[in-house]
Structure formats: structure tokens, C-alpha cells
């Protein structure tokens, strides 16, 4: 007989051994499922993390960044952006853009992954699908520069009225509703990718729901798509520019947004690239990784509700909040992520003006925080509104860690500076958009990233007829300046208009810029040629290649 102590010891040892055996079996099993090294020079494979399952892989309907990232590698539009973010020919070998329209001539060797040529008809079909009111694409409005697109999308005209015609298989002609000087650049965007009609019909409504219900014309094709778990892209042997593509496989065996998981995968050499969150910055420095920063170009701001019945309609009230908050303190002390830049203007720093950057040509009027001035404005607002006390202010915000932190910071700052009671309304993204649309807020923390590289992408946000103007700001002078920027073809006149829009936004406190979002990330030193960009899909691995670590 053993004593109870010995029995316990044996039992403990036995269970430890059993657990070790199970773990060994599990790791062996997972090793067999294909998740290999982050960068594998022998097979030309890179392994990456994808945030989530791509929600919509039908290019004519897709509106999110995750699907856009995958689509950007497997599809190609008329034009594309190269490694230096310059516009280069894609399916079209040349093009011509005038004030009234554009013509694209397609190359002969552009092929679908089944070997058939890509024709002008494929673009007509895809673009009509986008503006089709029955398909309800969220991005239909990006096509509104094309003649009749808006009316078709509203159901007032038939699809065939869209100002896009295939003159023959190799020539595509577009008529504009109004001048769109940046149209060629827009055609590199995923909404403008082609879709072949006969293939689309053959999938019987299941187009883009799996790897074999998609037809590819980009540098890669999707070899494997296990929903919610794994996406594998392999080089497209029929791509016209295949010699320039160095990678053989881009593998996404992990779908996660958890920062710690991603960092652990990177540390173990399982993935080739990782984003670094605020809690991992220290770790990355201690590991001695080369940290890169990238400004996403997205502007985040506090938007006021200008609808009647909200105190935020009062200009002095908005000025009071403008003087009370400090975007520099917010970014440097509360958010604390290097790469974030304090917001000062409606127009982010990366936008180009006439010769130099827009912000250098048209410096923004600085408003430095001043609580005394803030209180003066609040007193004026109190008198104008005839209020004894201000009602609680509803601050609508998202559910991200940064949004939570910042909204609590605002809550306390506005209480200290102005004695206002702020209630925080945390909502998930979809619900927040619905509430913004319904005007169910006083202040909302909103963000905007441009779909095309022109100041108009930001400048027209607060036009009284713009659906994205969630606060319903109305100002005839603003509308007049936007009209100038939209219709003028002279760069100087347009930039002057944007300069005035920038001033109105500050003087009238239409919104309060918070920050321009940036990202820190690390890349495996063996991977080179990764492209990050503000407009268009990001990150871009099309031109990436694997280099010898020793030669670094």
C-alpha cells in the first residue's frame, strides 16, 4: 500500500504527463494544417494575419477595408497604383480623361483566370451592378460622377442609361455628369473592378461566396477559402504582368484582431508582419524590432449635431467646447500612440495642394485651448438659448479602446472646464452609424478616410445635401465654396475654395478635429517591397519579395 501522499504525487505526475502528451499531439496536428513560417524563401510563401473574414468579396458591392485588401491582390481595375503609389496601367494600357468624359483602351493580354480575355463589357456589367438599386451597393455614390448614375441608383432610369459604353471589346467610353479630373485614379479602386457576366450568371446568385465562385484577373488567385479560418492566395499564372510578381503564395491562416496574439505570432516567426498596439510598444523596443510608422490618412473628429433642438446648434456653445478641448493633450497624454498626430484641420496633412502639400500652402488657423474664453462663449450661449442650466450632453462613441478612453477624457474635461454633464453612449459601429444618420446625438466621435486623393474627399463632407453630413450642418457660404471646388478645373481656384472651407470649419466650429490616425507595425526583415498607402487597398504585397536575411 502506498501512503495517500505518494498516491497524490503519482496522480499529479500522471496528469502532467498526460497533458504534455496531449499538447505535443495538438502541436503536431496544427503543424500539419499548413501554418508555416512567416516568410518561407524556399516556397516563396508569406504568412499573414487577417482581421476578420472578408465580409463582401463581390467587388461591385464591397465597401470594407478587409475585403478590399484581399480583392486588391486577386483583381485588377483599369488602372492600379504601383510601389510608389503612382498611377500605372492595369487592364487599360492607355487612357484619356477630358472634362466631359474618359476613354480607356484595354490591353490584349489581360486575361481572366480561366483564360478568356478581359473585355470592356466586363467593366460595363460590373459598374451597372454597383449602381443597380436592387443590389443596394453602399458605394454606389462613388460612381455618381458618371452620367445618370445617381438617377439609376434612385430607380428613376434603367441600368442601360449609365454613361458607360463598350465601344468594342478593347475600348471603354465613359461620359461624366460633371468634370471628374481624378477619374483615372478612381478606376484603381475596388468598386471599379470588372466582373464577367456569363460567369456571374453561372454562379446563380452565389457569386463571390467561395473560392470557386470567383473569377480572378489580378496578380493572385484565391486557392483556398475556409470560411472564418483560412484564405490562401497563389500567384496567377495567367496575369499579364506575371514576371513582376515575386511571391508565390500569400497565406492568411489566422483571423484575429487581438493585439497580443498577433505580437506573439510575430515573435514566434509565424507571420511576416504585425501591427503594434499601445500595450506592445515597450515589448517591441525590448525585442529590438525595427518599428515602422504609417499615417493612415484618416481624420477623426468630434461632430456636432446642428439639427434644431440641440444646444450644439448654437455657435457659441460649439466655440466653448472648441476652446475647452486640446487635441495635442488628447494625443500625447491620453491616446499615447506614436504615429497619431493631433488633428488641427478638416484636411489631413497628406493631401496635396497646387505645388506643395495643401496644409503648407494653406496653413490652418490655430485655436489654442483657453478655458477662460471657453467659459465666456458658454455664458453667451446660455444667454442666447435662454437656458438656466444646460441639459446633459449626449456623446455618441464607438466601442474601441481608444474611443472609450477619449470619451471619458472629454467627459471629465468638459465637466472641469465648463461644468457640463456629458453622458457617454457607446455603440458598435453599425449602430453608431444608424444613430448618426437618425441624428440621435449631441456630439459624435466620427472618422473619415478618403476614397480618392483629392481634398474634395474631405471638403464636400459638410455640404448641406451630402448624406455623410450627419450633423446636418447648413451654411450657404460652405455650399458655395464646395460648388466652386467641384466644378472648377483650375487647381488654384479649387485650392482657394478648400482654403476657405478650412477656415469656415475652424471659425464656425463645424467639427473639432481630434487626430489623424497612424499605425505602428513591424515587418520580418526578410520581406521587402511592402507598400502602405492612404488611398486604395492597404497593405499591398503585390510587389513584395523575399530577400536573403544575410545580405541585410
Amino acid at each position: 500500500m502506498r501512503t495517500p501522499g505518494q498516491q497524490l504525487l503519482l496522480l499529479g505526475l500522471g496528469s502532467v504527463l498526460a497533458i504534455a502528451l496531449i499538447m505535443a499531439l495538438l502541436s503536431w496536428a496544427s503543424g500539419g494544417s499548413g501554418a508555416g513560417a512567416g516568410v518561407d524563401p524556399e516556397t516563396g510563401t508569406i504568412t499573414l494575419v487577417l482581421d476578420t473574414e472578408p465580409p463582401q468579396m463581390n467587388s461591385s458591392l464591397s465597401a470594407d477595408a478587409i475585403s478590399g485588401r484581399v480583392l486588391g491582390h486577386i483583381m485588377e481595375g483599369l488602372t492600379r497604383q504601383d510601389a510608389n503609389n503612382e498611377l500605372v496601367p492595369g487592364v487599360a494600357e492607355r487612357w484619356e480623361v477630358t472634362e466631359s468624359g474618359a476613354t480607356f483602351w484595354l490591353r490584349n493580354d489581360a486575361k481572366w483566370s480561366d483564360g478568356k480575355p478581359v473585355t470592356a463589357h466586363d467593366f460595363v456589367f460590373a459598374w451597372r451592378n454597383t449602381v443597380d438599386p436592387n443590389s443596394a451597393s453602399e458605394y454606389a455614390n462613388i460612381m455618381f460622377g458618371i452620367r445618370n448614375a445617381e438617377a439609376i441608383s434612385a430607380g428613376k432610369l434603367p441600368l442601360t442609361a449609365l454613361g458607360v459604353t463598350a465601344v468594342n471589346d478593347r475600348e471603354l467610353r465613359i461620359e461624366f455628369a460633371n468634370p471628374v479630373p481624378y477619374f483615372a485614379r478612381m478606376t484603381s479602386f475596388s468598386t471599379f473592378y470588372p466582373i464577367r457576366e456569363d460567369f456571374y450568371r453561372s454562379t446563380q446568385g452565389r457569386y463571390a461566396s467561395s473560392a470557386d465562385t470567383l473569377l480572378y484577373n489580378g496578380p493572385f488567385v484565391m486557392e483556398r477559402w475556409v470560411h472564418g479560418a483560412h484564405i490562401r492566395l497563389v500567384k496567377n499564372p495567367r496575369y499579364w504582368n506575371r514576371d513582376e510578381i515575386k511571391l508565390n503564395v500569400i497565406d492568411f491562416p489566422y483571423f484575429t484582431t487581438d493585439g497580443n496574439t498577433i505580437i506573439n505570432l510575430f515573435r514566434d516567426g509565424k507571420i511576416a508582419m504585425a501591427d503594434i498596439g499601445q500595450q506592445n510598444i515597450q515589448e517591441a523596443q525590448l525585442q529590438g524590432w525595427t518599428i515602422n510608422s504609417f499615417s493612415e490618412g484618416a481624420l477623426f473628429y468630434v461632430e456636432f449635431n446642428h439639427r434644431p433642438g440641440h444646444v450644439t446648434r448654437n455657435r457659441n456653445f460649439r466655440k466653448a467646447i472648441q476652446y475647452a478641448l486640446d487635441s495635442s493633450e488628447e494625443v500625447n497624454r491620453v491616446i499615447k500612440i506614436p504615429g497619431y498626430a493631433p488633428g488641427r484641420s478638416l484636411f489631413p496633412e497628406w493631401l496635396d495642394g497646387v505645388d506643395d502639400s495643401f496644409r503648407k500652402e494653406y496653413p490652418v488657423r490655430e485655436v489654442s485651448p483657453d478655458w477662460d474664453k471657453a467659459r465666456e462663449h458658454l455664458e453667451l450661449a446660455r444667454k442666447e438659448l435662454g437656458l438656466e442650466r444646460f441639459p446633459p450632453i449626449m456623446l455618441l462613441t464607438g466601442d474601441s479602446p481608444v474611443a472609450n478612453k477619449v470619451s471619458e477624457y472629454y467627459q471629465e474635461t468638459l465637466k472641469q472646464a465648463l461644468g457640463l454633464e456629458v453622458r457617454i453612449d457607446v455603440q458598435i459601429f453599425k449602430q453608431r452609424l444608424a444613430k448618426m444618420l437618425a441624428g440621435d446625438f449631441d456630439l459624435v466621435m466620427a472618422g473619415w478616410s478618403a476614397d480618392y486623393a483629392d481634398p474634395l474627399a474631405y471638403g464636400e463632407l459638410f455640404h448641406s445635401a451630402n448624406a455623410q453630413n450627419r450633423g446636418r450642418y447648413r451654411n450657404p457660404e460652405m455650399d458655395r465654396q464646395i460648388a466652386i471646388a467641384r466644378t472648377s478645373t483650375d487647381p488654384r481656384t479649387r485650392m482657394d475654395a478648400f482654403g476657405r472651407i478650412q477656415d469656415i470649419v475652424v471659425d464656425d466650429a463645424v467639427i473639432l478635429p481630434e487626430y489623424e490616425r497612424g499605425r505602428l507595425y513591424v515587418v520580418d526583415p526578410a520581406l521587402s517591397g511592402l507598400v502602405r498607402r492612404v488611398v486604395g487597398f492597404d497593405p499591398d504585397f503585390t510587389y513584395a519579395r523575399i530577400v536573403d536575411k544575410v545580405s541585410q
Partner: protein, 462 residues
């Protein structure tokens, strides 16, 4: 067997005499104890349970009396001391108020990187000599020394052009040593080999205005720029917005213990009434009542929590404490009711109850004298186990954002906030999690001890 013919002399009649009658009978019984005295006696013998009781009392004192002694606003944000751990260095120098850096500074006399002003946690102003071929410069900061050809650390930003050879860093400055580097970039933004690196000692600094706003400096104590002062004391450190952890833990305890005690008390009471009624009445009424209890058990708690929140007209940004209590009371009583009913069914058939009934006891007497006291053990134990589960439920609901509204803290919401920065400031998660764990453990151990103490059957075994 053989008979002894000669009688034993010891058994002669003269050997027997009556002994003296004893004055008192030896007492074998223990002192007479009532049920409660006996329970208390046994509880006292259970050291774990008594320790738990003391911990619970200490928690209640911490909650009720704590805020009277530690008068710090739990919502006040001290942005100078964000996420500072307990026992952080508090000495700080008063400096001039921050002014944007307008004038271009003079380049350092020797080639390399230098500071244009004493580096403080308000700002670090870097200036460097131009590097050949540079079209732009990128500034890095590192917490470990930069090795030759190694990583430079965190990229802070670029100077913007070749002419600008200075940079101001205000990003999350911490007192201590930092290693700054400036890297030359070519026209395409690619790195050139030229790098300047410098070890810079950053002093802890506060502006006079901020010091006054935090009441660290009073108008009459004559302190000014250049003087050394002490930060406000935060014994348990601060959270991600520089709020005092001790004050927040006290506020959180108020919320957590309030819910933890009020909700279980109400639903256990209701469960006792319901269960004893069902058990005592029996028959078809019992069947109907218990099937209704089963129905209530099947209702999803979270869904009802959300429904009540809407039904009560509680908008976003308002506290969800009331609907939480209501949801708990309405949905969690059946467990107690079931237990008590089972107990009553058992007690009802006991011989002493029948005896009492034969002796003419009325229903009231039976229930109050025989039934309830005999189920009391079960009731008290249910209550002490319901309290920690309610605290956990509150923590969980606040964790997913259904509970208290900011800036009010509860232990659950504090844990939720703390988990995001678990790796860099563990105290933000550790402290509230510790409080939840200790409280829940104390209530559980006390419940355990009470069960042993109140079980009348245990009495005979000692």
C-alpha cells in the same frame, strides 16, 4: 462445572456494607445551548469562517468609512500621472508653461544631436546638425540603448523637410532615460545610413498652472518655476486617465457590495416565501408553482437585463444598476425556492411535526416554530453563496458595458479597463481583480462555515 465446596471467605456476609450515598449525580450533559448559541459556538471554532467574517466587515468599513478619510474625487483626472504604479517617484520640478516652439533654434556647435532646452516631461526639444543628402529626417525614441546598426525604437515623426533640423517630442513622455535618434531620409522617404543618437535624461516636470489646478501649490506658499514639489499621493497608483485607484476602488466597492447584498437578500427572501408556500401547501398548487419556477429558470438573464434597461427608460450613458437588480430579483429566485421547497417537504413529514399537529398546533405555529428554523441553514447558506455570484454578475455585466456608466467605477468595469493595459501597468487590472477575488472568497468561506455551523445534525457528532 464443579462447585467449590468450601465458600470463599471474601464472600462472607460480613464483607458487605452499604456505601455512603453520593451527594450529587455526575453531570454528563453539556451546558444547555440554544440553537443559535450552538451555531455560533461552532462557527467560532471554524477559523477560516471567522477570518472571512472579519474580511467582510473590513470590506464594509472600507466601503462606508473609507471615503470619509480618503477624500479624493474618483472621477478627477490627473493627466500628469497616467497609469502610475503604486509607490512611483512623486518629486517633480515646476517649469514654465508650455509655449509652441516658434523660432528655429541654432544648430549644435558640434555635429550630432542635441537638446535645445532642458528635456522635461512637458517637452523634449531636439536639434541636430544637417546631414548630407538628407531630404527629410525621422526622429526615433527608444527605452533601451541603440546598438550599432540595430533598431532605433519607436518612430515619433518626421521633421518635414531638409531645412528643418529640429523636432519637438511631447508624446507620452516619462521621466528617466530615453535614447533619441535622428535618421536621414532620401527624397522617397527611404532611410539613409546617417544616424545621430543621444542618451537624454528626461526630468519630471509640471507647469505652475497645472500644479495649481491640482492644488499641489497654493497661492501663498511662494513656490514658483524651478522649485521641487511633490505630486499628489496616490497610494495605489492611478489608472489610464490618471484617476486615483484607491478612491475608485472605494467607489467600486460601494457599487459591487450594494448589488451583492441587496439583490440576493430580496430574491432569497422571495424564494423562501415562494418555496415554503409551495412545499407546505403541496399537491396541485405545488405542481403549478414549481412549473412556473422552472419556466422562470429557462428565461435568459442577459436578454431580460437589456429588456429591463429599455423598459425602465434608461438611456445610454446612465447607470444600469436598477435594471440589474430588478433582473436579478425577478430571474434568480427559483433556485432558492426549489431548495426551500425540498427542505419543507422533508420537514413536513418528520415525526415531531406530526406530533405537534396531534397536540393541536396551528399552521402558523408549525411553520414558524418547526419548518422555518429547520430550513434556516439552507436559507443562510443560499444567501451567502448568492452574494458572491451577484458580485460576479455585476462585474461581468459592467465588464461587457451593461452595468455602471462612466465615470462611475465598479470593480467589474475597472477590471475591464485594466485588462487593456495588463502588460504595461498590471496594477490597473490586479487591484480590482484582487478585491473581487477576496470578497467572493470570503463570502464563500463564510457560507461554507455557516453551513457546517447551522446543520443541526452536526451537533451530535462533536
Amino acid at each position: 462445572m464443579t462447585m467449590n465446596s468450601s465458600p470463599d471467605p471474601a464472600l462472607m456476609p460480613g464483607a458487605f456494607a452499604p456505601i455512603a450515598r453520593e451527594q450529587s449525580v455526575h453531570r454528563l450533559s453539556r451546558p444547555s445551548l440554544s440553537y443559535w448559541q450552538d451555531a455560533w459556538f461552532r462557527l467560532k471554532a471554524n477559523r477560516r469562517a471567522i477570518l472571512s467574517l472579519w474580511i467582510i466587515i473590513a470590506m464594509l468599513l472600507f466601503t462606508v468609512l473609507g471615503p470619509l478619510f480618503w477624500r479624493v474625487d474618483p472621477a478627477a483626472q490627473d493627466l500628469q500621472q497616467i497609469s502610475s504604479p503604486p509607490g512611483a517617484n512623486r518629486s517633480v520640478v515646476i517649469v514654465e508653461p508650455y509655449r509652441p516652439w516658434a523660432e528655429a533654434p541654432a544648430a549644435p556647435s558640434e555635429p550630432g544631436l542635441d537638446v535645445a532646452a532642458p528635456p522635461t516631461t512637458q517637452q523634449v526639444r531636439l536639434v541636430w546638425t544637417p546631414m548630407p543628402g538628407a531630404a527629410d529626417y525621422r526622429v526615433y525614441r527608444n527605452i533601451v540603448p541603440v546598438k550599432q546598426g540595430g533598431a532605433l525604437g519607436v518612430p515619433l515623426g518626421t521633421s518635414g523637410s531638409a531645412d528643418v533640423t529640429h523636432y519637438e517630442d511631447r508624446m507620452d513622455l516619462k521621466p528617466g532615460v530615453a535614447f533619441y535618434s535622428v535618421l536621414a531620409l532620401d527624397a522617397n522617404g527611404a532611410a539613409l545610413p546617417a544616424v545621430f543618437t543621444r542618451r537624454i535624461e528626461v526630468a519630471n516636470a509640471i507647469t505652475l498652472a497645472e500644479a495649481k489646478a491640482r492644488a499641489m501649490v497654493k497661492a501663498d506658499d511662494g513656490l514658483g518655476v524651478g522649485d521641487q514639489i511633490q505630486y499628489r499621493l496616490h497610494p495605489l497608483g492611478t489608472d489610464y486617465l490618471g484617476r486615483d485607484m484607491l478612491a475608485r476602488l472605494m467607489q467600486g466597492a460601494r457599487v459591487s457590495l450594494f448589488i451583492g447584498i441587496v439583490a440576493p437578500t430580496i430574491f432569497v427572501l422571495f424564494g423562501v416565501l415562494y418555496g415554503s408556500m409551495a412545499g407546505f401547501l403541496g399537491g396541485r398548487i405545488d405542481q403549478v408553482m414549481m412549473r412556473f419556477a422552472d419556466f422562470v429558470i429557462a428565461l435568459p438573464f442577459l436578454l431580460f437585463m437589456i429588456l429591463f434597461k429599455i423598459a425602465f427608460g434608461i438611456g445610454p450613458g446612465e447607470s444600469g444598476i436598477l435594471p440589474m437588480i430588478v433582473a436579478m430579483v425577478i430571474l434568480l429566485w427559483p433556485a432558492t425556492a426549489r431548495l426551500v421547497r425540498g427542505q419543507i417537504l422533508q420537514v413536513r413529514e418528520e415525526a415531531y411535526v406530526n406530533a405537534a399537529r396531534l397536540l393541536g398546533a396551528r399552521t402558523n405555529y408549525l411553520v414558524l416554530r418547526h419548518m422555518i428554523p429547520n430550513t434556516f441553514g439552507v436559507i443562510l447558506v443560499t444567501l451567502t453563496f448568492a452574494i458572491p455570484s451577484a458580485i460576479f454578475t455585476e462585474a461581468f455585466l459592467s465588464f461587457i458595458g451593461m452595468g455602471v456608466a462612466p465615470p462611475t467605477a465598479s470593480w467589474g468595469s475597472m477590471s475591464n479597463d485594466g485588462i487593456k493595459s495588463m502588460l504595461i501597468s498590471p496594477h490597473e487590472l490586479f487591484l480590482p481583480a484582487l478585491m473581487i477575488s477576496i470578497t467572493v472568497l470570503a463570502f464563500n468561506l463564510l457560507g461554507d462555515g455557516l453551513r457546517d455551523a447551522l446543520d443541526a445534525k452536526m451537533r451530535s457528532r462533536e
